[in-house]
Symmetry: C2
Subunit: 296 residues, 2 copies
């Protein structure tokens, strides 16, 4: 049975998720900070709204797919924010990558307003979002899950339920970003050493992707380096941010993360050198004394 | 058609490879520095020999599966070494993980003795060795490959041919070890942060192995941590050695490897703390302030 769902933030992930919800038979009310984006989406169905408050007003579920905690604060509590407009007992589904401690606190802030909250960071990229095949790393009270019904499954191939207290989903997402960031930087370091040593990079890619040195990120990102194509699918600056969140979380309990801090420096070096908006595989450009494959 | 093949070094990898060669119909002459090991192997067929020289004497192919370059030097040029005993035109197949520049130089040293040389580091672990399913990363002159015939395929699921000059195989192996070592240390760092934050480690493993943060090593090694079982399949000290080789190679051309050097320090910290002979996943024991799962 179709539900009324607000989806806020029609970026690469949000647009695909909104489309998946629409295909699943829901009435999707959308808004985006960029002019015209919501209207464009609504041409194929759904309701274009000007603000989060307007989008959320008649809905049971609000799915927020913005960049970070600051934008989420604005979606909820800014001018035209949706927190005041949401129906009592409706649920706010927070899909951004954020500080888990901030997410845990948000649960209490929304509870005080009579609203449910689901900590629900996502993973999978734009193609999986468009296909309704993302992964959601969720945590929240049973009432929050009950308010969502089976709506999450309309967007996601897999909905991990990681605890009854918000923050656990964000913690797992942060650990995933730790590995993703370190693995991209390690892939770059390995490919850079191979190039330095005169190894054929295509042969190196073939061997590594069939060996114990492989990672999801090596396999996914190094073709960009081999093609000399740094068109951003996910940008260097995303990992400046996300490894920053990883380090912030650990610092809050004074916990050491030697590899994460090293990888973070590598992404910051790449960003500072002017590559922040290039594909994250451009972290390989921080290695001097090598000749990278050129775009054909 | 069966060939006469010497295999030197019946460790976890060598014993499996010798068995694979025997099953492939070859006459395998084996020796091992430990008393009785060769005799034990020969109970099921093959010829037990006391020294590398004795094993190599009548063979066309000598496969060396010892720990490092120093042991390989001893196998070839030590008292009872095989270099002087090998037939002109026979081939020495070097399967250890070594400095690629040393391997490249060895080709010339053996050529001066009328011997062929194949740079052929291996990957895959004991189970794959026993099944004849390892990966070989090879490089050498066409005459060296010709001298091997199809013997390599009797031990390996995949024989990568990476160049006509020894050293290219070892370079690719070194890059693989860079990634393998960094990924084990990163897996430990990620699991340690999860434990520090109170995340359920089994759930974390489930999510990560289905997400973009996955690596071959995370998937393979973290079950040891979850089970609290540090029985060494591959020991911490192997990565003290192998990441040391990675750093030596890069230092020879003054090339920076920030993540490799950090991971190397983590393995050395684990070794110095007394965990050198435990499973390499014991690098997680360098993280203070967490409670690791205990062995059931």
């Amino acid at each position: 049975m179709g539900r009324k769902i607000a989806l806020i933030g029609l970026g690469a992930m949000g647009a695909g998720m909104a489309g998946s919800l629409r295909r699943a038979g829901h009435e999707v009310h959308v808004c985006d900070a960029r002019a015209g984006v919501a209207q464009q989406f609504a041409k194929d169905g759904g309701v274009a709204c000007a603000t989060p408050a307007e989008a959320a007003r008649d809905c049971d579920i609000v799915v927020s797919v913005v960049v970070n905690a600051a934008q989420t604060e604005d979606v909820l509590f800014g001018a035209n924010g949706c927190a005041a407009a949401m129906k009592k007992g409706s649920v706010f589904v927070m899909c951004s990558t954020v500080d888990p401690n901030w997410s845990a606190a948000l649960e209490g802030r929304l509870q005080a307003l009579g609203l449910q909250y689901l900590d629900a960071p996502i993973s999978g990229g734009a193609a999986k979002a468009a296909a309704g095949q993302i992964t959601m790393m969720t945590a929240g009270r049973p009432e929050a899950y009950a308010a969502c019904g089976d709506v999450l499954e309309g967007m996601a191939a897999k909905v991990y339920k990681l605890g009854a207290r918000a923050g656990a989903g964000s913690k797992v997402k942060i650990v995933n970003q730790l590995l993703a960031g370190v693995h991209i930087a390690a892939a770059a370091e390995a490919m850079a050493l191979g190039l330095r040593e005169g190894v054929d990079p295509e042969a190196l890619y073939d061997v590594i992707t069939h060996s114990a040195g492989n990672s999801w990120m090596f396999e996914n990102r190094m073709p960009h380096v081999l093609a000399g194509d740094y068109t951003p699918l996910s940008a260097v600056d995303i990992f400046v941010k996300d490894l920053g969140l990883v380090l912030d979380l650990a610092r809050a309990t004074k916990f050491p993360l030697p590899l994460s801090s090293t990888a973070h420096q590598m992404f910051m070096q790449a960003s500072s050198a002017g590559h922040g908006r290039e594909d994250d595989s451009a972290v390989i450009k921080t290695f001097p004394g090598i000749e990278l494959p050129q775009k054909k």
